[in-house]
């Protein structure tokens, strides 16, 4: 019995399972048995068929619309007020960097200290701000396919947050298990647990499912929600659709217009129920639908990246990043809400200093990341690859 289960469980083991399919021995009881030989045959033909499809890993569930929401849109990069970051790099392989951040007039803390260390298998980062609140991240890759992640948020006056994550990326699917503040000590599980699976169906199409179970307060039964997603990647354009269990529908579209221009579009429709009063002053529940569409584009040049976006709620934002010198970058972020008549502006400066001789030479373009001396000719070639601006 165990040998059959062993074969079945190999479905979960990537690459090796497909290349070295062990033919079951024909003399064993469990394999000569017609039922199990049938099961084994079906399983082998499924594996062979899966191999013949030439599927690729669909990426992670979180990154289903990464090209639009993280690369083209500037929501995650936007800031207010003045900011300066001074980062000091000590080595590139493994990477080790510290940085001091200063900020005025924005949401971020006035001072923060970040240090980051990354070797080939482990990445660890921590940020401590002037309120002594710590944000930590630890990723460890056990092998090419299995990664564990820990995210911590510890502040002195607020409840701690700890997220444990486990990623399994096969050659045609990605499985992700996540637990937020898990508590097994009480009579029932408390916290948030998320399981998501994204599977390539054809080399271009992938479909995914996610289940969230959350029980946040003691004594109140937890609730669960299910989301379904689909993603179609056609080389130079990508479309994705997410139907989220909380009653939201997100559609996105991305296109690489030219080598240095990308355009993205996202529509978000959120349905819900809100309590309100009717004419007789009786409480009634009314359904409402909130929807928003955002169109954005990103221009990349040799020394600068320009991003701009406009949404159907009247918000127009831009973010400009310009590298003046190899060690000095400027940031400008602005947004105007045309309907609410509000605006915000942010200016930033990022300075990179060297902590060792090699890094200093690298910053001046004398050696590359491998430590090889760069020839003048190579340097010119590299510079000609992207248009100057």
């Amino acid at each position: 019995m165990s040998s059959n289960f062993g074969d079945l469980s190999k479905n979960l083991v990537p690459l090796t399972a497909y290349t070295q399919i062990e033919q079951p021995k024909n003399d064993g009881f469990w394999t000569s048995n017609p039922i199990f030989s049938f099961v084994n045959n079906v399983q082998n033909s499924i594996i062979n068929h899966r191999n013949s499809l030439d599927l690729i890993n669909p990426g992670t569930f979180e990154n289903i619309n990464k090209e639009v929401s993280r690369d083209v849109f500037l929501n995650q990069l936007q800031f207010k007020g003045l900011r300066a970051d001074i980062s000091k790099t000590f080595s590139m392989k493994p990477i080790f960097q510290i940085s001091h951040g200063l900020s005025i007039g924005g949401q971020s803390a006035p001072y923060s200290f970040t240090s980051m260390f990354g070797s080939e298998s482990t990445f660890i980062q921590g940020t401590l701000d002037n309120d002594l609140s710590l944000t930590g991240r630890l990723n460890h890759a056990w092998d090419k396919h299995i990664t564990s992640k820990v995210t911590l948020q510890l502040a002195q006056s607020q409840p701690a947050m700890c997220q444990l994550e486990h990623d399994y990326q096969s050659n045609d699917f990605s499985l992700n298990l996540k637990a937020l503040n898990p508590n097994l000590l009480d009579d029932s599980f408390q916290g948030v647990a998320v399981v998501s699976l994204l599977q390539s169906i054809t080399p271009k199409l992938s479909l995914g499912i996610e289940t969230v179970y959350s029980a946040l307060q003691k004594g109140i039964p937890g609730d669960s929600a299910m989301s379904l997603v689909g993603r179609y990647n056609s080389g130079n354009w990508i479309a994705s659709l997410q139907a989220q269990g909380q009653g939201a529908l997100v559609a996105s579209f991305w296109r690489k217009v030219a080598s240095n221009v990308e355009a993205g579009l996202e529509t978000n429709i959120q349905a819900g129920i809100k309590p309100s009063m009717n004419e007789l002053m009786q409480p009634v529940y009314q359904t409402f639908i909130e929807a928003n569409t955002t169109l954005g584009c990103k221009y990349e040049f040799r020394q600068s990246v320009y991003r701009g976006q406009i949404d159907s709620k009247g918000q127009v934002s831009i973010l400009l990043e310009h590298r003046v010198l190899p060690t000095l970058g400027l940031l400008f972020s602005a947004s105007i809400d045309q309907f609410k008549n509000t605006a915000s502006v942010g200016c930033g400066l990022s300075i990179e200093v060297a902590g060792s001789e090699e890094i200093l030479m690298m910053q001046n373009g004398m050696i590359d990341a491998e430590g090889n001396v760069i020839q003048q000719q190579q340097q010119q070639q590299q510079q000609q690859q992207l248009p100057q601006l």
Binding site: F253, V257, T267, A291, T293, Y299, S312, Q388, L389
Partner: protein, 50 residues
């Protein structure tokens, strides 16, 4: 004059107050956006440098 203005406003609000109105508008915007991004108009927005 004011009555003339009031009437179309009421008619408009009954359509816009329908929760499905904004959903339909945004689905329309999405389709228009995809057509725009795929159209030669977007290709014309590529900077011609050098």
């Amino acid at each position: 004059m004011s009555g003339f203005q009031q009437a179309p406003q009421e008619a408009k609000s009954s359509i816009t107050s329908n929760p499905f109105f904004s959903a339909a508008v945004n689905v329309g915007l999405f389709v228009a956006g995809v057509i725009f991004i795929q159209s030669p108009l977007m290709d014309m927005m590529v900077p011609q440098l050098q």
